[in-house]
Symmetry: C2
Subunit: 581 residues, 2 copies
């Protein structure tokens, strides 16, 4: 009857390749090239030298296989892959270096292996990999994938001496495809990649031997993206459990500060107090030495004066206070007796003086973990994520890239301030280019980028396109037939892609808002430009009429006045032209 | 520097839940409900009794957790799950019964577990499962998922006596969500599910205690979908290797017939000959007994007469032929000497008489497997996939479903003939409903279905919507403000979804063509209806004018003629109204 089975992740993606962007021979060759170019660029970003990416696509000479089989070779001067990881990095699905909270082009740890897997199932040939991290050795592998077990099969392995300390990776394999139909998308992809990576040299040799070179126009690279800690707002029970299992922190304040993004001592204490994870003694149970320690701590504290801590507080007074208090714990007691002092100051003071006790993180029960996570979402005292871990392109590089690839008459770019969704920081960059070499089409051209990769498919479902379509462009003097390119770049430690093939971005309200604001900004500037342009055109038309009739009028008036010498109309015309400057 | 790690499939989908349709609390509660309803309906389709699905969504009473936590309970009278598979079926990603070539609602073996996983990470509570396959026992489990290891954790297991031989499954778990915002989509989903499953009773109790009942209008169920073999056109090297590894066939013709869809003896031989996998002896090497066996086989064959096989062929004649032939193998020899006989007849004859030798499938080398697969794609003699394994709804059930849920004035439905893409059979059903209870909106309503599930998200990227938008509806007298619902249902052993969340269907040219033709068919019929309707409306207006003035004209004419009795105009009006019938 019904039979059950377990399949490996490699098997899953083998059976469902539509999901990863390998729908047909056209899409497959595009996706394979793209995934490997993105891995190459990620690797060069880490190596700190300006990117060199070499791509060669050629017909496979194996005549047995037929015309639609290609060999794809992609090389980079990136950081290379440590020898022991090479087999798994290319021969195992869901194995990778991309599972960190960090801005990267690849995000699923899947694309490169998927390309190789596709090559294998269509041609059954091994993939060849050459890589070095710049050590004294270069490693060469020939691999295949055991799809059912999701494990690499090493067919061959050789080691060479690396005299020149070369670092980088070369990958070469065969795959079925349809280059002639994929060509427009591939070239568009490379052009847009060059636009958004103006510090990279990209060379592409196509199957007909045509050479496409995208040369860098700057060696200035954006700062490399940094790894970051999870933000408390984005943490769920599973993440909390994993942290709790591996932490070596003994107290909750330490745990909070060590494992979460932008949580310092004050915030950790305020949060733990809010969440009910802090215990302090009943003041009545304090011993003599405790009380003098507390008084000493108060005296040392800088918060003094009226309603604050008193300079002259004596142990005796404190004992008196304690005897008469009705508070059952130290925090409340302090709050009642030093009204002008903020709670956070009290908490820090008590913590520093050793009056605050928390459970050891590793001893939290599972219901306490759930509660901790819930309270994290409710607490409003956490700082917003810091976007310094992000690496947007920046307005200058964006401008340079657009100028280089589109050669427009006018550009305006804008970088929004960092924002966040579900605890993930993100930055939106927008640009509009007008005129020059941009062709006037039926509709406005839209370039979409995420973490510096162009998105070329499923445009209609993308949040950026939805926002652009929802805007009233006539307000900005834009009409559909104008030669305009609108560009949106979203970078984040986690781009909310809707598909494994990285085709389009999900409808997150926070992202939507930023995209809209970014677009409005550039649209307004474009409007000024277009208004001025319109004015100039109008004035020029007026002046043309002027310069046509003025000589005749001058002559006629001279005759009429009975004079002989006509006035110098050149001076007049010159002054009228001044507005053009 | 760069660190590498392996993650489990559960971990992958935990980290990338946007991909599986669990983007935010609104989508999550929709997706969870939907995935489990679809599993329930799949299970009831297998049990052979009309479906009963019970859904209850209620606030979780656990006040610790807050208002946005719900308990979801879904039950069905389906085939149940064998006890030993229950933990993995619900507690392990990529474990399931859905990996067969068979039409099913669920296709990734992922949805149900993903819903449970989402519940676990947002509430950290176990899932409770009750199931029986109709045996003497009912099994109850409390489970959680070890996400990092992708394994179920069994917290509790009890067994009950099943006196009434109940079969089915109940699942209950807690999850975070936003029901009030998800409600419209959930109700729309249930309504469309009821439309496309008119043989199911679906009961939904929502968190406010409101009861929604979708009652079956028929007990006639479509035939249950059947499992099928892979079609040669859709086979790749990996599939071929797997078959080769497990087969017990000793010869290639047997192998082809046993493991592939619609491959019989004749086709298997023609193909293997085409692909170069058949060897026959050199006629010159035949021994005497071989020759008489061959002659006997020829005489037994029915293909006789002119240019065919001769009745009177003697062994002597044959020996003479063989002596003088230049052909190096038996097939060529036979082809040359019996010109009127088709090659396939010769192959079958030689095969039956034991003159054809092939390798044992298990001994094929890997390059031979690649060649076999390539030749399969090139051979044009395979039969198209048989769609009898599919279970479309059928025109009657579709009509009943639409009438029940939409109550239109007019319906037209159409079922296209089976077609195929990449070796997968599929059938497109289309319908248009007009008027009645259908509201007139700004735009035409589109209902999309695949394997009997409604698709409600990412409409703009769906192939059906693209086709509808590309059609010139004015030609069919349709204007956007008309009260119209257009419905497309695609069923296949493999629906080419673009996303794991089953939101929309990829752009396969074969599918596109069928959808277009199906829509044209129903659009043309709608056009006839609308034309007739227009005519009726026009005639009625004319008649209204008639019946208003006719009495006056009658009276006036009577006076004018000097008569007293007016003619009976009722008879006249009645005859004019006849066209309305």
């Amino acid at each position: 009857m019904v039979t059950f089975e377990e399949i490996s992740p490699a098997d899953f993606f083998y059976r469902n390749r539509d999901i990863a962007g390998f729908t047909n021979p056209v899409r497959a060759i595009f996706s394979a090239l793209r995934e490997l170019v993105e891995n190459a660029l990620d690797a060069t970003d880490l190596s700190g030298v300006p990117s060199e990416v070499y791509i060669r696509l050629s017909h496979d000479n194996d005549t047995e296989l037929g015309d639609d089989v290609y060999r794809l070779r992609i090389g980079d001067n990136g950081c290379g892959i440590p020898a022991r990881h090479i087999p798994s990095a290319f021969g195992q699905v869901l194995f990778g270096s991309k599972y960190k909270l960090k801005q990267a082009r690849g995000t699923f740890g899947l694309g490169g292996t998927m390309a190789i897997l596709y090559g294998q199932i269509t041609t059954h040939k091994p993939v060849n990999i050459v890589s070095s991290t710049g050590t004294s050795r270069i490693y060469k592998y020939a691999l295949m994938i055991d799809i059912q077990r999701n494990r690499p099969l090493i067919l061959d392995r050789t080691i060479q001496i690396n005299k020149e300390q070369w670092h980088g990776t070369f990958i070469e394999f065969s795959l079925e495809g349809d280059y002639s139909r994929a060509m427009p998308k591939i070239l568009e992809y490379l052009k847009q990649t060059a636009l958004v990576t103006p510090y990279a040299n990209i060379t592409f040799v196509d199957p007909k031997g045509r050479l496409y070179k995208f040369t860098r126009v700057t060696t200035k690279t954006p700062p490399p993206p940094k790894e970051t800690l999870p933000h408390p707002y984005g943490v769920d029970v599973e993440t909390m459990q994993r942290l709790q299992r591996i932490t070596d922190c003994q107290t909750m304040p330490d745990f909070m500060q060590k494992h979460f993004h932008r949580v310092g001592e004050t915030i950790s204490l305020s949060f733990l107090d809010f969440a009910g994870f802090i215990r302090t003694s009943d003041p009545k149970n304090l011993k003599g030495e405790d009380i003098s320690r507390l008084v000493k701590a108060i005296k040392k504290n800088k918060k003094k004066g009226k309603n604050g801590f008193s300079h002259n507080l004596s142990v005796k007074e404190m004992q008196h206070f304690i005897r008469n208090t009705q508070s059952g714990n130290l925090v409340d007691f302090m709050k009642t007796h030093f009204k002008g002092v903020e709670k956070s100051v009290i908490l820090r003071l008590l913590h520093a003086a050793g009056f605050i006790r928390t459970k050891a993180p590793r001893k939290l029960r599972s219901d306490e973990i759930v509660k901790l996570v819930r309270m994290m979402k409710k607490f409003d005292g956490f700082l917003p994520p810091d976007a310094s871990c992000l690496s947007p392109l920046g307005e200058d590089l964006l401008k340079v890239g657009i100028l280089k690839e589109l050669k427009p008459e006018y550009i305006v770019v804008s970088q929004r301030k960092p924002s966040t969704y579900s605890g993930h920081p993100f930055i939106v960059e927008t640009a509009i280019a007008y005129g020059g070499d941009i062709p006037a089409k039926d509709d406005i051209l839209i370039y979409r980028f995420a973490n510096r990769i162009p998105l070329l498919y499923d445009e209609a479902s993308d949040i950026c396109v939805k926002v652009i379509r929802s805007m009233n462009w006539r307000r900005y003097k834009v009409s559909p037939s104008m030669p305009i390119v609108i560009l949106v770049h979203i970078c984040s430690t986690k781009v909310p892609y809707k598909t494994v093939g990285k085709e389009f971005i999900a409808d997150r309200p926070e992202v939507k808002k930023e995209v809209l604001n970014g677009l409005r900004e550039v649209a307004r500037q474009l409007q000024h430009f277009l208004t001025k342009k319109e004015y100039v055109a109008r004035e020029r038309r007026r002046l043309d009429v002027f310069s046509k009739y003025l000589p005749k009028i001058a002559k006629f008036s001279t005759n009429l006045a009975g004079k002989e010498k006509e006035p110098n109309i050149k001076v007049l015309l010159r002054s009228a032209r001044k507005f053009e400057d």
